[in-house]
Symmetry: C2
Subunit: 435 residues, 2 copies
């Protein structure tokens, strides 16, 4: 089934990151489908018409995001109707729900412009929007290509990511789940997995797994595909298997996973929706350990990552973001002499920071980071990218030295990931010693 996504909005062509495409791509993948292409277009009549015409011709399911809002540049519904030569009508139920939405927010009068959002394409199903005023629409239509007719499905979804994903989950996912049942019988099924890897380069991963890729060419499944992609310091290894025999597909996925586990060992920190912070969180819970942090160059980034995970209050105590020397002394009990003698970016300071926060917060483990994120502040002895990580628990305190490359944000991100990965390895070794 050919599925394509059209994202409309001038912002996507002028600097705004398209997170809807990422969301929809990953969700379709999880359902066993592949997004064939993503097109970002301007919210201008001509551009939208061209994109719609091409999509209606070549794809069986077309998802459009954006342009359902109340403002003058929201023209998706009009243009879709025009392209399919269908009429629009004002849906009274939708109009009422828009009124209710504003009432619930204690606004008595609907802004005039919002009424336009009750315009529905003739024959379309209204997809309720619980988080905003723009409903989605789903339309099944026939497309004539020469003499043959093709059944196609069009989804119009709002652009704001939360509204889009809410409607996507409640209305679009069930549609594709139903499709799976029909498709399975004909072309078989497809399964995917993504492994997340830290601490090794993209090229190195590619070289290490080459034998597996070679073998896969001669495997039993109809098609095995691989992809490797690096994002800052994290490498993702994706593989997908399709075939008509579900058991065989599952077993192939399983055996590939176990081969990769053997080769890449604990460079692999997780799979699919895992993040370093979610994996670390799970391990802390399992081991009933708590953590505290003392951050200098990462400036709160690690704490923000850890607390992004719901329920993190069960294992996260605190982070002291001590940017100034003064704060390191006051909040972390780093000695003034240590700072004077060795400097803020030194193994000695890193260790005292970790020790200090461990003692004061009473956590089981503490990590600290101090480094030079740049672009200024580097010297010959202590260049930009020099980062010390301190670790402390009830029995010992130590530090690790790193020389990271890249720009300010790379260095901060790599430092944060490094701390989380060190913690992960610490927790895994605990578990190994248990057995």
């Amino acid at each position: 089934m050919k599925i394509e996504l059209i994202c409309t909005g001038s912002e996507l062509l002028t600097g705004r990151v398209n997170t809807n495409a990422a969301y929809i791509g990953s969700r379709l993948l999880a359902l066993g489908f592949e997004l064939y292409s993503v097109t970002d277009v301007w919210d201008r009549e001509h551009d939208l018409l061209c994109a719609f015409k091409r999509a209606f011709k070549r794809s069986e399911a077309i998802i459009v995001t954006g342009g359902l809002g109340p403002t003058f540049d929201d023209i998706t519904v009009e243009i879709a109707a025009k392209c399919l030569r269908l009429k629009l009508y004002t849906n009274k139920k939708v109009l009422k729900s828009i009124k209710d939405y504003f009432l619930s927010r204690k606004v008595d009068l609907i802004p005039k412009i919002n009424a336009k959002q009750a315009n529905i394409i003739d024959g379309a199903k209204v997809l309720e929007n619980r988080l905003g005023t723009a409903p989605g629409q789903m339309l099944r239509f026939e497309f004539k290509d020469g003499k043959t007719k093709h059944k196609k499905t069009l989804f119009l979804l709002p652009g704001p990511p939360k509204e889009m994903s809410s409607i996507f989950e409640s209305e679009v996912v069930p549609f594709f789940k139903n499709c799976v049942v029909g498709i399975k019988k004909v072309v078989g099924i497809r399964k995917n997995e993504v492994l997340h890897i830290f601490g090794i380069s993209e090229s190195a991963v590619a070289e290490m797994i080459r034998p597996v890729l070679e073998e896969a060419k001669f495997g039993v499944c109809k098609s095995v595909e691989f992809g490797i992609i690096a994002n800052a310091s994290i490498v993702d290894l994706k593989f997908s298997v399709s075939g008509t025999n579900e058991n065989l597909v599952s077993e192939t996925i399983k055996s590939l996973r176990s081969r990769f586990d053997d080769i890449l060992k604990d460079y692999i920190f997780g799979a699919n929706n895992d993040t370093l912070a979610s994996v670390v969180g799970r391990l802390l819970l399992e081991n009933r350990k708590t953590i505290s942090l003392a951050e200098s160059c990462t400036g709160g980034k690690i704490a923000a990552m850890v607390t992004d995970i719901q329920g993190s209050s069960l294992y996260f105590k605190n982070s002291i973001v001590a940017y100034s020397n003064e704060s390191k002394i006051k909040f972390l009990e780093v000695k003034k002499e240590t700072l004077m003698k060795f400097g803020a970016v030194s193994p000695e300071t890193a260790e005292e920071m970790a020790k200090g926060v461990l003692k004061l917060s009473g956590s089981d483990y503490a990590f600290s980071v101090t480094g030079i994120a740049g672009p200024d502040g580097g010297t010959k002895e202590k260049p930009v990218g020099l980062v010390y990580v301190g670790f402390s628990d009830q029995t010992k305190t130590k530090s690790f030295k790193f020389n990271f490359t890249g720009e300010r944000n790379d260095i901060r991100e790599r430092s944060a990931n490094t701390v989380l990965d060190l913690l992960r390895k610490k927790l895994i070794s605990l578990k190994a010693n248990d057995h």
Copy 2:
């Protein structure tokens, strides 16, 4: 000039956010150009060929990102050459620079697979990559459409964002700057501005500025375009003006800006590349004030935003990310009784947190945040989304109450933006009182 972008890589269709498109779109805009469309395609021969053929036909400049890497799924160069019926050759200078790159990283042997990155399209200019092994390529070619020939330009850039942007700045930007000189004479110039707005909804902004939009229709410039887009709690208002008379275009931009300033007043926190954190940073420097934070539900997010700005050590002292009650007592001197009597999420606790961190860090201002980010932890009296912000300076301490809607991450982000915006307004009022 029709410019389009093709981004290749399976990751873009399966869940990875495309930041390259955002970067290139915003940079072209700044140069006075418009990206006509963005297409994300799989790194598969057939899909890439289709995308290239369409782009070579319809656009004058085609930028491709991704697929220049060393691994098996990197096929951009091959397919581009195939599409244009050109040959590839091994460029010795590039091969040497790949060797040097690995030597500089203390790797003696080039991984075999990296040698492929020295394959250059016949006639292409090599675009040096200072941050990685994959060089970019620029090719000027003639495209025959029926009997007429069109001169076109193709850029192949690496996928990793840092490498892409580095080559984009050094090699692609000068190309477009040169084009500007030629184009200006014929079709005139184009200028853009984006205003960033906080504290008011997208619909409200649209209603408020409607009179300006109506007037603009009858203005003197050839074309004035507007766009409004909301992202979480921040609304962007974009406007662009084009015409043949540069002075007129500049004046129209200026007068629009001043109209918007009058209407939206200090809801506008910045323009173009400004962020709340960069604006606040600038104001803190100008006013020679320092800041400290006490974060509970934002978990370090505010500190991470503030320290994303280079030079923030001049005005940022520290943030105490006190997630547990214990930490609030130990690091912020919040009274145990306050926590017992009013709870962690209360105006009293917010105020003590702000007061505590102000006193201990010795900063001029302190802000605190405590709230329920969810999805768990809400009660009838204190629902998910309830957030208190505390403020303290040498003269007073107070608190603000908010009821935010949305999911965990929305609430955290909105809380963080709210604190930065409160600080911004505080600093602006200082400035106003000066005069």
